[in-house]
């Protein structure tokens, strides 16, 4: 049975779960999407604990609202839309919290850019640190651009899928991706000059 289920596509699995309430189909979907979603959410948030919670919350939503899935759309776009919405909400909540915590020590209505010593070339030693630098640079990219860049360049999605997930047309997606890339290049110029 499980062997047969594993051969099914995402859409077929979710339909199996929807109509026949086959929880094994749901479990296979979880196995397929847990890592890509974790990667996407982590790159967007930069917080692994929060990212894990958000991916779990995404899967719970899929489980609970399986009937709201329409077979017209791709399962991947549906599940990424849920994860993206949750990630955006969490990111805004974290940002509010950070702003308030910094404002408590200084003047009101002022945000601070904390100096990051890691950008210095002499600090960069191995790929682990490089990854960290890239992650920090990603977090500095504008929220809407970042999401599009991650979905395109890290998750390898098509412009069509991204436009469905973000709910904007393809032209906007391309524009956002280019702007995001430009910002990243500017932020990572020290690494590229090396």
């Amino acid at each position: 049975m499980n062997k047969n289920l594993r051969e099914l596509s995402d859409e077929e699995l979710i339909l199996e779960f929807q109509k026949n309430n086959v929880e094994a189909a749901f479990e296979i979907l979880v196995q397929r999407y847990k890592n890509p979603l974790t990667n996407f959410v982590f790159r967007f948030l930069g917080d692994y604990t929060a990212c894990s919670d958000i991916v779990q919350e995404t899967m719970i939503k899929v489980f609970r609202y399986k009937d709201s899935y329409s077979s017209v759309a791709k399962f991947s776009t549906w599940v990424y839309t849920i994860a993206g919405n949750l990630a955006r909400t969490e990111y805004r909540r974290q940002r509010r919290r950070n702003i308030f915590s910094i404002s408590d020590f200084g003047e009101e209505h002022k945000t601070y850019d904390l100096p990051d010593e890691n950008y210095r070339p002499d600090v960069i030693a191995d790929s682990g640190i490089k990854d960290e630098i890239i992650q920090k640079a990603l977090l500095k990219v504008k929220e809407s651009y970042r999401e599009a860049v991650i979905l395109r360049d890290i998750q390898g999605m098509s412009y069509e899928e991204i436009s469905e997930i973000l709910g904007v047309n393809e032209g906007t997606v391309k524009s956002r991706i280019n702007r995001g890339r430009a910002q990243l290049q500017e932020l990572l110029k020290d690494i590229y000059n090396e």
Binding site: K34, Y48, V55, Q56, I60, I154, K174, L184
Partner: protein, 242 residues
């Protein structure tokens, strides 16, 4: 499009070469636990509402409702209805009589006195006539008695008023022991209006007056007339002089 990708080739490659972040090992177990806990809480909620409407469970709750209704009605019927004090009509005081026409009251009072006197006279007719002095004294006593009664009535009403005032204003009210003494003292200083009213209340005949009626002889009458004339003559010039 291709130009853009060439332009940001480095960035694209950097992002593609990033290590994939994987979900924690216990991800699926945690997810299963969370889903089961949600399922359990859902079932619990369902069970609660279902249990409420099970007939066996309805019996005690219905009994409770019935008891509550009974208690409510018992409490409701026993509770005193609070009347609006502004809607309650004032009590009618039967001990007070409102008088609009004082003259009429006076006349009625006089008529009553006359009647009582006439009745007394009728009663006294068969009895032998008492002496003038006795008559006078008895009349005096009667009038005094009436005066006393009236004054005492007035005083009692005044005393009541004073008592009420004493309660409200904190003054000392007149005690009963001193009441008799006050009546005696007041009797001596009866206002002239009150005495005239009392006198007007009864008709005084000539016989009842305290005059000494002396039978004069003709000589004595002449002498008296002469003396009267002399007095009158002596008074006239004085008047004319004035």
């Amino acid at each position: 499009m291709e130009n853009d990708e060439k332009k940001y080739e480095k960035v694209i490659n950097t992002l593609k070469n990033l290590k994939e972040v994987k979900a924690p090992e216990n991800f699926e177990a945690d997810l299963r636990r969370r889903i089961n806990s949600e399922k359990f809480s859902k079932e619990e909620r369902k069970g609660f509402w279902q249990n409420i409407f099970v007939p066996a469970r309805l019996i005690p709750s219905l009994g409770l409702i019935a008891a509550a209704v009974v208690v409510f009605y018992v409490v409701e019927t026993n509770s005193e209805d609070m009347d609006n004090p502004f809607l309650i009509e004032p009590r009618v005081r039967t001990d007070l009589i409102a008088v609009t026409d004082y003259k009429q009251l006076k006349e009625e009072h006089q008529n009553e006195l006359k009647k009582s006197e006439s009745l007394e006279k009728e009663k006294n007719v068969p009895e032998p006539k008492p002496n003038q002095s006795e008559l006078k004294s008895s009349r005096d006593e009667r009038t005094k008695g009436r005066e006393k009664d009236e004054i005492s009535d007035k005083l009692t009403s005044e005393q009541d008023f004073a008592k009420v005032q004493g309660k409200t204003e904190g003054t000392v009210s007149v005690s009963e022991s001193t009441f008799a003494a006050i009546i005696d003292s007041v009797q001596l200083t009866v206002p002239s209006e009150a005495s005239s009213d009392l006198v007007a209340g009864q008709r005084i005949t000539k016989e009842e007056l305290n005059f000494r009626q002396v039978q004069l002889s003709e000589k004595e009458q002449k002498v008296v007339n002469e003396l009267k004339n002399q007095v009158q003559n002596s008074e006239r010039p004085a008047k004319y002089q004035k």
